[in-house]
Symmetry: C2
Subunit: 251 residues, 2 copies
Amino acid sequence: MTGATETTAESFERGGGIAVWRRIADAIEAEIAAGNMAQGDKLPTEATLAQRFGVNRHTVRRALAALAADGAVESTRGSGTFVGSARIPYPIGPSTRFSAIMTAEGHVAGAELIGAETVAASRVVAEALEIEEGAPVLQVKLKRLSDGMPVSLGTSFLPLPRFAGFPEALRAQGAVTPALKACGVQDYSRRETRISARLATGAEAATLQLEAERIVLMATGLNVDDAGVPIQFTEALFAASRIELVVGSGL
Amino acid sequence: MTGATETTAESFERGGGIAVWRRIADAIEAEIAAGNMAQGDKLPTEATLAQRFGVNRHTVRRALAALAADGAVESTRGSGTFVGSARIPYPIGPSTRFSAIMTAEGHVAGAELIGAETVAASRVVAEALEIEEGAPVLQVKLKRLSDGMPVSLGTSFLPLPRFAGFPEALRAQGAVTPALKACGVQDYSRRETRISARLATGAEAATLQLEAERIVLMATGLNVDDAGVPIQFTEALFAASRIELVVGSGL
DNA sequence: ATCCATTTGTCCGTATGTATC
DNA sequence: AGATACATACGGACAAATGGA
């Protein structure tokens, strides 16, 4: 941050078209991108930055919040603000297997069943699974971990009665693929994935161990068995600061 | 918003574990998701919401900012805050042609060349294009429009001297595919795409006609010609509020 | 075309809570 | 225990854009 210090004393005045906090955010980001700061380096304190840029501490906070949203920096109360770390690549394709992906990347994969209940299929779910609206479906929520850190929060809908035994099998096996196999699905593949991005809700941020106001990538998709029959409509949430989705190649 | 009004008078007190602004954001979002409000409907004013939830106007503003980041709501100064609109699906695959996608969706496509200059290849670009670091490459920036509204902001790197005539061809043709054809590329395909999400920088927000602090989807990828030779390393930015990326099927 | 009330946008200052060191 | 540092919320002031009178 030393480079920007001297030059910015006069340049951050109010009313210059672009908001002051935005210019400060861009300045800090540029400093990081320039390679002046490495992963994990501690930024100056908010008070210091405020003095440096000649603004109120809240104006600096707004800039830091923008950078923290996508993981460029990470703030820890009582400790400080630090330069964020790189994202784990996460392949998306016809055959996406969480455990396989993570172990291939050198991480320890894990899945934790948060909840399983029978609900009536909404219009969207019914259309995807090619069943009637209102028909009973199994809603499964699970959290996926990499090295103990939650990376994804998934909500799946599976048709009943075919997958009535799925939750128990998942609990016993600890992973989705073998649990599906226990329900008679030899193999399955992803037909379509839709990717969007938004901010995490309060509950989502809590389960993903994210601070508030963090960006999540939302991937919704449909899995079909080897006969082409829809078996699972999924919505997976990824912390944008930890994950990067990879599409293509021979996946 | 009428449903939440009566029940929330007492429930938004400070110090309840989750931040007040976050609970307000979730409450408003739930109202919208419940279908009580349609696209384009006007929300109550910030002052009204503040009074309703029994908090300061700034606390409401923080909640609305979170909802505005991903397009759930849209605020206009002097006018008010409105429920946002749906996203346009954007297929990503081996053969992604912007014009074709947009016209198929019933929109009028357009591309505007923002800038073209010769730069030295960075490490990342050089690796992707399989050339030497520091070798001259053509950097092309272009804005893509759908119905006059900017939807994507792309930065491409093309090897030189092969594509020296690309900018002129693009200006003449108005679209990428024919411009590449003018450079001798009969056909090309996408080898890999990496998708991440972050907040737009000040400059990006300006060119995309986005308010500050909006989420963008970033898709970086490599295009290769029919001989498998890398011809274009691209980074495309999409406004998350306007676009939803679609992967898969027979694309 | 002008004025004016309304409404959102930006920034400052202050107070307090809470986690870390 | 105390100092430090980030998190949340309040209040005030003014700017800028809108829209109706």
